[in-house]
């Protein structure tokens, strides 16, 4: 039972990890993008449309599907959709200097609405079960490596993509000039601006890339985890991804462990259900991630170390003429 839980949790880490890595990258630029749940939904919508278009292009004959286009087309559509919504968030908050909270929450309403809308429009007409097989297809030799292979290597490619991206983002943020410039923008845009770093470019690039990464979370959930069914609960994972950003104190490599922990907690309820005296306790287990996140938020603010604080200008719009 324990191995089964860990195996599933490792796979399920992907949805949280994509979301939290994307949001961390975004927040490092000083944009508190509360639209991330909506962007995950919107990216997923793009992927669904992409796959649908591909299925139409080959004449609706799913037996003719090939792995490469069946994977790449939805991912590209996802990047296009999620990136566009991220760019739109920037247009409103950076260029038009609107309130970030207001804009983000509206994006969430919109994105969630769009996915549900397409669930209604497309859901019955298209099936993605066949396409999903390409996503879940694991390595052939995984089963021969005993339990390690089963737990860590038997999954579709997306979880590995998620881990690779988060390590890459962690590296870029910490070790490269680009990453340091980005962090400078998030900490103090006026200083960064004075030092010749373009605040606008950094915010746009970070937010758009972050949105694309987060969108992959939605794609993973639909095409890998659910086997091609369009869900209506991505929003909840989006909020948890924001929680993970706090939990991992804005470090994508810690985010891997945090996402794994959150995934385990999410799945735990169905594994421990037989041992509970009543089903209501399962709801308390689901509460743990949020409570733990609050505790982390409190502890880091009490300890007040520079390394564990949110980016100093998080949530504020920057206007050069306003000093």
């Amino acid at each position: 039972m324990f191995t089964a839980l860990i195996t599933e949790a490792f796979r399920f880490t992907a949805i949280y990890l994509f979301g939290s890595t994307g949001e961390t990258l975004t927040e490092k630029s000083g944009n508190l993008n509360l639209g991330i749940p909506g962007i995950m939904c919107f990216g997923a919508t793009g992927a669904v449309i992409g796959e649908y278009v591909y299925e139409l292009a080959i004449g609706g004959d799913v037996s003719k599907m090939q792995a490469f286009p069946a994977i790449v087309i939805p991912l590209l559509f996802c990047m296009l959709f999620a990136g566009a919504l991220g760019a739109f968030y920037c247009l409103l908050t950076v260029t038009l200097r609107c309130n970030q909270n207001v804009t983000g929450l509206t994006i969430t309403t919109f994105g969630v609405g769009v996915l549900s809308y397409f669930k209604g429009v497309l859901g019955t007409r298209a099936t993605f079960a066949k396409a999903s097989l390409f996503f879940t297809d694991g390595l052939d030799f995984a089963d021969k490596l005993g339990w390690i292979g089963k737990v860590f290597l038997s999954h579709g490619f997306m979880i590995y993509l998620a881990i690779a991206i988060s390590l890459l983002v962690a590296f870029v943020l910490k070790k490269t000039r680009t990453g340091l410039s980005l962090q400078a923008v998030g900490e103090n845009p006026a200083t960064a601006d004075a030092a010749g770093i373009s605040v606008t470019t950094n915010k746009y690039v970070a937010t758009v890339l972050g949105s694309m990464i987060a969108g992959f979370g939605g794609v993973f959930y639909i095409f890998d985890y659910l086997g091609g069914v369009i869900p209506n609960d991505i929003e909840a994972f989006g909020w948890l991804a924001i929680a993970i950003v706090i939990f991992s104190v804005w470090r994508p490599n810690l985010g891997i462990l945090a996402s794994f922990l959150f995934a385990t907690l999410y799945l735990l309820k169905s594994y421990v259900a037989p041992y509970l005296s009543g089903i209501e306790q399962a709801e308390l287990i689901k509460m743990i991630p949020y409570v733990v996140t609050i505790l982390v938020l409190i502890v880091t603010s009490i300890v007040n170390k520079k390394e564990t604080q949110p980016p100093a200008s998080l949530g504020l719009s920057y206007f050069r003429e306003e000093r």
Binding site: C98, T109, F110, I242, M287, Y290, N304
Partner: protein
């Protein structure tokens, strides 16, 4: 020598504060029309709906019968109440996005009293206890982030956001715990209904909100407390300098926010005597937009909450025309919000484009000087 003929930027943005009222309304009206057009295009492109039918339903759908008009007034009142609740905190620049959870805790408070005392004590006493518990629950939910903000400067946006989900899980827990096995997400009670004034189920709630609107307006504009919190919002250092106890102001203001959310929680429960996890209905989030659009002014807020509630319920009726149902609502409302948000930019800033063959005179003079020096 490097490029000395530096161009002016193509677009220049500068702040303005002197826009005329009619002009601002004009910009908003244009945004509204653009939103309408986008909604029309999106809905015809996806479901191929009859565009005229969608528009008429969007506007007149709310006003068809006496009942729908009352329902509309009520949803305006509820949205206004949450908006009033978050406003004092926003004026203080405390970003409380936890009104959703605070309202839900208010609902839970009322449900808790009814669950344990319903039918055992007289109705007036029950209602009074429900009211008190609602307020206490919601205020506790609001004051916890405030305490940490005041003493440790904990990020309140993220804290209040997380508190929403703790509240939702808590409500789910109690629904399951009280209703036993085989339950699907809501718990009905037989007691705790609000009294109806003259047989009208909507009137009492609306009247309560009217009274609260007046009180909050006076509090913010005429009381010492109201003045203090706006000073804290403008500059914490100034507030400290003139002897305002900033910590006390933060805590006091958030208790007020919580109390107002608690009142709504009480009313929401009293309408249907039913506990479910989405009882707050997303109003806590929408209220942020409403309050911000009204520039944190309670009087303007009557207008903005009317507009938003009108759109929401109109879009819901338009969505009911198609199988897409409720989701059409979110889509439509999202598009309208985007356009309204963007229009605020054009009200607060002016955009000037570079003129074609323009060179500012002083700049030409400087360039001539530079050339002289170089020679």
């Amino acid at each position: 020598m490097a490029d000395t003929t530096k161009k002016n930027p193509l677009v220049r943005i500068s702040k303005r504060s002197d826009i005329k009222g009619w002009k601002a309304m004009g910009i908003r009206a244009i945004a509204f029309v653009i939103a309408l057009l986008i909604v029309g295009v999106v809905s015809t492109a996806t479901v191929g709906g009859d565009i005229i039918k969608i528009y008429t339903t969007l506007f007149i759908g709310n006003l068809m019968t006496q009942r729908t008009v009352w329902a509309l007034l009520e949803s305006i009142a509820f949205l206004l109440l949450v908006s009033l609740a978050v406003t004092p905190a926003f004026k203080m620049r405390f970003w409380n996005i936890g009104a959703e959870g605070q309202t839900l805790m208010g609902v839970l408070g009322a449900a808790m009293i009814v669950n344990y005392l319903g039918g055992k004590i007289p109705e007036p006493a029950l209602l009074l206890l429900m009211f008190a518990t609602s307020i206490i629950f919601a205020a506790v939910w609001a004051v916890v982030p405030a305490l940490f903000k005041a003493y440790f400067n904990t990020n309140e946006t993220l804290f209040t956001l997380m508190m929403n989900y703790v509240a939702i899980q808590l409500v789910k827990f109690f629904i399951q715990a009280w209703s036993g096995k085989g339950n699907t997400g809501s718990k009905d009670f037989n007691y705790g209904y609000l009294p109806k004034i003259g047989g009208n189920e909507y009137l009492l709630g609306i009247l309560i909100v009217v009274v609260i609107t007046v009180l909050v307006t006076i509090y913010l504009k005429r009381s010492k407390h109201g003045y203090e919190l706006s000073v804290v919002g403008e500059s914490e250092n100034t507030a400290r300098y003139i002897g305002i106890n900033v910590k006390a102001v933060i805590i006091r203001t958030m208790i007020l926010s919580g109390v107002l959310c608690g009142v709504l929680g009480f009313i929401l429960f009293g309408k249907s005597a039913n506990l479910y996890e989405t009882a707050a209905g997303g109003r806590g989030f929408t209220a942020i937009l409403v309050s911000w659009l009204a520039k944190f002014n309670p009087i303007y807020m009557v207008g903005t909450s009317s507009l938003v509630a009108f759109l929401q319920s109109g879009a819901k009726r338009a969505g009911d025309l198609y199988s897409a149902g409720k989701f059409f609502t979110d889509l439509t409302v999202g598009i309208f919000f985007f356009c309204i948000i963007a229009s605020e930019f054009f009200i607060n800033y002016t955009v000037k484009f570079r003129k074609k063959t323009q060179k500012i005179i002083s700049e030409v003079a400087i360039e001539e000087k530079v050339e002289e020096v170089n020679e």
